[in-house]
């Protein structure tokens, strides 16, 4: 079984975020980066599938500037076999179609049986790359996967639907599936893993050497920090009226009912 895992490096949750000068991204000073949470679960799932089937290869692929190699290295110390780094100069690529195209054209020749990715990235949260990539490489696709069962030519997955519903479905391999956080318990790089990772290969490809199909479907115009406003409204009147008004606010403004 040959498994590819897409991992993205994102600013870690506690990093203080400030906008950069151009207003199109965040300033990276004082920001620490971590592997996107659900990607860490995807990697763990890949390692478990490899251990369960007893053979195969897990390849970590990442897109981003030089710093993402640290994330790839972390994956290698946890047990992945090699890494692929599409190196770009920009700190981010915001168009999921472009990202998927870059991955597709880089990974096509790898002929993965399975590609796992996190459900969505913690920074942009678009949640599309896994499915797009699957389509581009003519794989079966599934999203929001909470459990997997692998066999020779198929993978059975449990998907999270809305309202507490689940769906079990079986996909033919090759397949690209996106993994929900919490599906397993990610491991920690052992000392031996860290030592071993030093000898593992990371293949680096410059982004402009990859055919991107020329198409950018989305451009990011502006990022901004959500405005926090304090609003106090006094509701007056009889108890009945107040309650009716409150329910109305809960339904319409706060949307909790």
């Amino acid at each position: 079984m040959k498994i590819g895992v897409l991992t993205k490096q994102v600013p870690s949750a506690d990093s203080p975020l400030k906008l950069d000068g151009g207003g199109k991204w965040i300033g990276e000073e004082n920001v620490t980066f971590a592997i996107n949470e659900s990607d860490a679960y995807a990697l763990e799932e890949a390692l478990r599938i490899k251990e369960e089937t007893g053979d195969g290869e897990v390849v970590v692929a990442s897109l981003g500037p030089q710093r993402v190699q640290r994330g790839i290295r972390e994956g290698l110390s946890k047990g992945a076999d090699r890494g692929i780094h599409i190196e770009e100069s920009l700190p981010y690529t915001s168009d999921p179609f472009l990202t998927a195209t870059l991955f597709a054209n880089t990974l096509r020749n790898e002929s993965f049986d399975l590609i796992l990715s996190g459900l969505q990235s913690d920074d942009l949260g678009l949640g599309q790359v896994g499915v797009l990539l699957g389509e581009m490489l003519s794989m079966s696709t599934a999203t929001l996967v909470m459990e997997t069962g692998i066999s020779d030519s198929t993978i059975r997955v449990k998907r999270e639907l809305e309202g507490g519903w689940f769906q079990w479905t079986t996909l033919k391999l090759p397949a690209s599936i996106s993994i929900q956080s919490g599906i397993n318990t990610p491991r920690y790089p052992s000392l031996k893993g860290i030592m071993g990772a030093k000898k593992k290969e990371i293949r680096s490809i410059a982004r402009n050497e990859v055919d991107d199909g020329g198409a950018t479907l989305q451009t990011l115009r502006k990022v901004y920090i959500p405005q926090k406003v304090k609003r106090t409204e006094m509701i007056e009147g009889e108890a009945d009226q107040v309650v009716a008004k409150l329910i109305d606010i809960f339904k319409r403004d706060i949307k909790v009912l």
């Binding site: 870690s12 506690d14 990093s15 004082n30 318990t185 990610p186 491991r187 920690y188 000392l191």
Partner: protein, 611 residues
């Protein structure tokens, strides 16, 4: 009494058989001990001898920990010593060469007879406790213990009877019975917990002076792979001291009784998990590579408080959470998620919280070489893990100012490494240590309010390199400022006020006096909690457990409960973690209508009473 040649031959054969069995079993265990890592320490011999006399001959810990059972054990023990000569003489008589003349024998029996009665009382009480009262702590009823109790009883009875000049034939039977009992005892001892008779004195003599006494794990990522493999393999081995501990354990359960995790309803039972679970694997495999047998879940529950080690009457260093955790982290890579986050923070930002900015550190003066002390904040204070504690830090700063002490903080202070160290992430610990050692390279004195930092900056770093600076806890600095009249404090009634000893100060650093000197000056009527000084009970935050997700156990509430029940209005402590735990724990435990106990750091109390 005379013995025929046949009798003498039989006696000799049985003696040789019993001694053979005894030595075979003892040597078998000693050979396993010899395979342990490290060496048995033989430094400071006079101190070791004094300790051995106190703890073995005078039973200081045996009686100190549990008065009545300890005293009764003492009766049996002292009886045994007195009986040594009697027993040798008994067998010598069997070969027709008694050691004592008739007269000497009679004179000595005047001493021995009362002792034999005391031994009967002692063993009677102990048997009553074990088989009738059956305290939970002793565990399952053991057959050998029953047999041993009966043997000891019969030994005494046969001795007393023999002294009453019975008719010759009966005297002969009685003599043989006594002899056979002694020899049977010899066979039984090494195969049971009664081996402590032989090992405990040596174990107490050889006990390391530092508690805890975990080996430093030195990681060199540049070393060749075989070296690393050997180092990792070594992590599964008990040291010689630890192996001797396992064979010396008398299964009394005092360690478990003292254990906050156990008392809080956790699964951790140090007697089993850190001692007895290792005994059979040692004997079966003959190798000391048994640390992977420790229950992992139990290992994560430990607060590393060292109460177990201090409670052990045979001198065992009981706690082994360090050993099992480092195996889990470094070898298995199996780390609870909350700790993975913590480790990542430490690696990325050098602090436990993943923080980039400390408003408190910005307000405090910076260290320059002309200043006397580095004020070491530690992550708890620096990143305000309990925002109330910030005022305690400022209070300490005020005290230092008032005493004319110059101090400053290090801007590049990183976590001392305590949580990484105690949770088994030795590589991150080493990384933090190396950074901090560089920051401290020109420093002569460090003072900190965090006992966890104190232990690491001094003892733990000291395992890697020579430390050239002195580390003083704020309770020590304050006490000496008062002693030298450098600060002016007034004494006044403080209401019902008590002191909670942080484990790291009391047990690891051995400091219980300094805070009390200050308390006696400020609040002469302060009272002691039942478990205080080196007997203190952990607040629940030690061993990295501050960052643990809430589990099922109530480890973090046991001490808080004691404080609520003590009737104190104020509890003073000397550790930011204890402070934080009580601030969270006391209020929900306080019965309705009663005021919540106030939590203060010693610095708060002193600052409030600065003249």
């Amino acid at each position: 009494m005379t013995f025929s040649l046949l009798e003498k031959t039989v006696l000799a054969i049985i003696i040789i058989g019993a001694l053979g069995s005894f030595f075979y079993e003892v040597v078998r265990r000693l050979r396993i001990v010899a395979r342990g890592t490290g060496t048995l320490p033989l430094d400071r011999i006079p101190q070791r001898l004094i300790r051995t006399v106190k703890e073995v001959l005078f039973h200081r810990r045996v009686i100190g920990g549990r008065f009545w059972p300890g005293l009764m054990h003492g009766l049996v023990f002292w009886g045994f010593i007195v009986f040594g000569v009697v027993t040798l003489d008994h067998f010598a008589t069997g070969f027709g060469t008694p050691l004592l003349s008739e007269n000497q024998h009679h004179l000595y029996s005047i001493v021995v007879l009362p002792f034999s009665v005391l031994v009967i009382i002692g063993i009677g009480f102990l048997a009553y406790r074990r088989f009738i009262l059956k305290p939970h702590t002793l565990g399952k009823i053991s057959l050998t213990s029953g047999i041993v109790a009966i043997f000891i009883f019969l030994l005494m009875v046969t001795y007393i009877y023999g002294e009453m000049s019975p008719p010759l034939l009966i005297a002969k039977v009685n003599w043989w019975l006594h002899a056979l009992l002694v020899l049977a005892f010899l066979v039984l001892i090494p195969k049971s917990k009664h081996l402590h008779l032989v090992f405990a004195p040596f174990n107490i003599f050889l006990r390391p002076f530092d508690t805890p006494d975990h080996d430093a794990v030195k990681i060199d990522l540049e070393a060749p792979e075989e070296e690393l493999d050997a180092m990792l393999e070594g992590l599964t081995h008990l040291s010689k001291n630890q192996t001797l501990d396992v064979f010396s354990c008398v299964e009394c359960g005092r360690c478990t009784d003292a254990c906050p995790a156990h008392r809080g309803g956790g699964i951790l039972n140090p007697k089993h998990h850190f001692m007895l679970d290792l005994r059979q694997p040692l004997l079966d495999g003959g190798s000391t590579a048994v640390l992977d047998q420790i229950n992992i879940e139990a290992g994560w529950e430990c607060t590393a408080c060292q109460a177990c080690t201090f409670a052990c009457p045979v001198g065992n260093q009981v706690e082994k959470s360090d050993e099992i955790r480092r195996l889990q982290v470094l070898v298995e890579g199996a780390v609870p998620q909350e700790y993975q986050k913590l480790f990542m923070n430490l690696q990325e930002t050098g602090n436990t919280e993943g923080a980039f900015h400390s408003p408190l550190a910005e307000r405090l003066p910076k260290f320059t070489p002309d200043k006397e002390y580095v004020l070491w904040l530690g992550c708890f204070a620096r990143y305000e893990l309990d925002p109330n504690f910030t005022k305690s830090v400022e209070n300490y700063a005020r005290i230092l100012d008032s005493g004319g002490v110059s101090y400053g903080i290090l801007e590049e202070e990183w976590c001392s490494g305590d949580p990484a160290n105690r949770l088994g992430e030795k590589m991150t610990f080493q990384m933090l240590m190396e950074h901090n050692m560089e920051q401290l390279s020109q420093v002569k004195k460090v003072t900190s309010m965090c006992p966890h930092c104190i232990v690491n900056l001094s003892k733990e770093y000291g395992k890697f390199t020579d430390i050239h600076y002195r580390v003083e806890h704020h309770t020590q600095v304050i006490a000496s400022l008062i002693d030298q009249n450098r600060i002016d404090v007034s004494s006044k009634a403080q209401g019902a006020i008590t002191y909670h000893d942080p484990c790291n100060m009391a047990r690891t650093m051995g400091e219980v006096e300094a805070p009390r000197r200050t308390l006696r000056t400020l609040a002469p009527d302060f009272f002691e909690l039942e478990e205080h000084g080196t007997n203190t009970l952990c607040c629940g935050a030690g061993g990295g457990l501050w960052w643990k997700k809430e589990g099922t156990g109530r480890t973090h509430l046991v001490r808080a409960e004691q404080i609520v029940n003590s009737g104190a209005e104020t509890v003073v402590t000397g550790c930011n973690f204890c402070y934080g735990m009580f601030n969270q724990g006391l209020d929900p435990l306080t019965p309705e209508g009663r005021e919540t106990v106030k939590v203060k750091d010693l610095a708060d109390l002193v600052a409030e009473n600065l003249a």
